[in-house]
């Protein structure tokens, strides 16, 4: 596991292949933003996100687990009750 340098920037997960969020001076509008929506029977949207893993801070990428079954669980928040 590569330990990552921790800066003060607010980092978030991002979807692979998605357009960067802020491009204010873009002269030409992108053709049509690809909207990725998860559907059964379709490829899972690939993503990279900062992560806490076994005592350290690292980054996790879904496609790094290609060839394995992956169980991805979203939840509303840490320290919530359910």
């Amino acid at each position: 596991m590569a330990e990552q340098h921790q800066g003060c920037a607010r980092v978030s997960g991002s979807v692979e292949g998605a357009a960067p969020q802020s491009q204010p001076d873009q002269a030409i509008a992108p053709e049509k933003e690809k909207i990725m929506t998860a559907r059964v029977g379709q490829k899972a949207p690939d993503f990279t996100a900062p992560a806490y893993y076994k005592g350290g801070f690292t980054s996790v990428k879904l496609s790094d687990f290609a060839g394995k079954w992956v169980f991805v669980c979203f939840y509303p928040g840490d320290f919530t009750f359910v």
């Binding site: 996100a49 992560a51 076994k54 079954w69 991805v72 928040g77």
Partner: protein, 151 residues
Amino acid sequence: MSAVADKYAELQKLGVEVISVSVDSHFVHKMWNDHELVKMVEGGVPFHMASDQAGNVGRAYGVWDETQGIEMRGRFIIDPDGVIQAMEVLTPPVGRRIAESIRQIQAYQLVRESGGKEATPAGWEPGQPTLKPGPNLVGKVWEVWNPKMEK
């Protein structure tokens, strides 16, 4: 999340990797793991706890709730080809039943190993008979399966 962490060994035995995702920072994940989850699961959370503070990943998976700025309880079973085979999304107040996710993973693994020749009937549990769709099964499902077989 502790419920998933508790079943991690079982998931690993099935060759399943786990990633949890919420809008909390990875720093908060550490605090939650070190101060609470470690008291519920020995050794703490053994898988990657991913941070998605801007909700980018949640939006792509259709679990982002823009009014609350959180992600719903969505769980996705992704096969070795990266294809989503199953999903379930719950609103926050009701927790998941991990045993059902594990049952579905076992069923999808069986189907995959059979090269698509076998299917699992409603309520199937490992060890129970599967269905082999083909001309001989048309109109004959009743001979091998009935609703009372579901536990």
